[in-house]
């Protein structure tokens, strides 16, 4: 039933001793066995296990708002940061972290990015959420209104008059906008 991807975690050299694992089930039914320190970065998981005394290691926690694809991305990020923390408990190696994050996000399409933002928001991983929303912010910075609408898949519900008024009000904000 469970396809445990967790154990094949990226270069985690720490798995010699047997670690406690936590099972997380995504919206499409896939179960991830996740090392406890990594899973505890997910605030929703941490509070679930902290608040419910009757849960055991065998309990599979359902995460109905998280897709399998998003879960892969999130676990990749959380495992990398757990690795950084394990190696340097005092202070994360900033340059390494930055290099990892840059490479990590470069591979993500806008849709994947939004999906992960949604998941990170639901899972309440504030560090990851700040990082991802910051990336999204860079992708829409200095872009036209039309570009932003397409980026977020938003319908324009303003009447033409309303939109014209707003454009007039914030005329200064429309100078020098990038080409789409």
């Amino acid at each position: 039933m469970s396809s445990s991807i967790a154990s094949s975690s990226s270069s985690s050299s720490s798995s010699s001793k047997k670690e406690k694992k936590i099972s997380l089930k995504t919206s499409d039914g896939e179960v991830f066995e996740v090392e406890e320190p990594v899973a505890m970065q997910l605030e929703i998981v941490r509070s679930f296990f902290a608040d419910n005394e009757d849960v055991t290691e065998q309990t599979v926690m359902p995460l109905p708002n998280v897709s399998t694809a998003a879960m892969h991305g999130i676990l990749e990020y959380c495992r990398a940061h757990e690795e950084f923390r394990r190696r340097m408990p005092e202070a994360a190696p900033e340059e390494e972290v930055r290099a990892f994050e840059a490479g990590y996000v470069d591979r993500k399409s806008n849709e994947e990015l939004k999906e992960m933002i949604l998941a990170a928001n639901y899972l309440n991983i504030s560090k990851l959420l700040d990082f991802l929303t910051g990336v999204a912010a860079k992708r829409i910075e200095n872009k036209s209104v039309e570009y932003v609408r397409a980026f977020f898949g938003v319908e324009n519900d303003f009447t033409p008059e309303e939109e014209a008024n707003l454009r007039r009000e914030y005329e200064w904000a429309f100078e020098g906008v990038d080409e789409d």
Binding site: E111, K114, E115, K138, F152, G153, V154, D157, L166
Partner: protein
Amino acid sequence: MDITVVLPEECISRIISFTSPRDACRSSVVSPAFKSASDSDAVWERFLPSDYQKIISSSISSSSTLFSLSKKDLYLYLCHNPVLINNSTMSFSLDKESGKKCYMVGARRLSIAWGDTPPYWTWTDKRLLPESRFAEVAELNYVWWFDVKGRIETKTLSSKTNYVAYLVFKFAESRHGFETRPIELSVYLEVSESKTRRSKRVLLDPPRNTPRLYQHRGDGWMEIEMGEFFNELGDDGVVVCSLFDFHGFNTIEMNSKQTEIIRVLGQRSIASSFLSRSSNPFKNGKEDVNDKAKKRVSCVSLSEFLDQKLHKNSVLPKTVQDKSNPFRIPLHSRNAGGSTDEKLEIKKEGEEEKNKVLDKVVFEQFKHSSTEKRDAPDELESPNEDRLKESRKRRNPFAGSDDKLPTRRPFVVLGDDSKYKRKGRRESLISNKKTRPPYNHYANGSGWWDCGMEGVDDEEVGYGEVWEGVGSTTFGGIEWH
């Protein structure tokens, strides 16, 4: 394409809060939901300076009203409406693009040499100068020693931001001196002046057909860039913006230009206003009439000035006391006599006529002093060789400055930015000052002389080196953008 993921408003807000005020305003046009997200306090709280509450709290008038605004409205308000802080001696505003802090240091908060000595400077009530944001502006009547400094704590400025300081001023109509005397504009850290000092010499009121370095602000004032300063962490102590060797000013503004990284912050001006009128020392009394006539004429010809000075010197030294002499000599005594009346006129003019440049005189003085010695001798020599010897510094500067200024300086001085040159000049100036025994002009009450302060006995024009009369100008203040 997959079904588009729809993010909740809180995520949209979070994303927008990582963009910029410009992007946030534009995002409000995307859709009603986006408008709600991008107008939220969560977004604009991040754009406001972290210590904005503390800053606004020091504003007597408007803090309660301001705190009732939404964060976005507050932000936009602060961009367009500078708030008076620190007992209304400074104003605070935000750069619209970046949200960086901008300040203007009002004239009352500037250190103005002789600023409280009426013949030299006059403090003009705001009622006479409605375009001033401060209660008072400083009006320069005439001065020998033009020395204005504005100070601001780097910890109050936004960090990792490149600031630019601007002098905010306006000219009185009958200004005199600023067209020929370059003024030294510098910006430096107070604790490490020698290392950080950057200065340039500028003609505030350059002759026609010469590029003008000042710009009209659109609010009745003019501004000229004094220098830049990069505020790393705000732990560099005090930044000083200095005007030196002037006759008259209106305002010094410090604006912060952001570096590439930060973008350019809006330019803000700190207005301290001074009106300076033509330069003439106090002693005008006797010679005032003549002086006035001369002054008016003299604006054009240095030789006349020199002659006048020489005459004055010869006459004044004997007759006039030490104090009186220095003033008369350096500045054109003309102004001194008529200074009061003229001042009033000037002020009005200054207010009304922003464009007119009154005073160009002072700046060049230093140069003159150094060069004057060489050049001036010829001119001066004719009048009095003894003077040259005795008051080389004093006399020469004046004579030299006057004579030379009209012709040479205008061309040379304007736009002179080279740091090296500046430094050299400064050094030379400083050295001059040092070499000459510091005479306490303040004590005399006559004016400032660094270099050539000779004994009171010396009535020679020597003082003129430092400052001849400076025409009238008004300083609004110094702005940091």
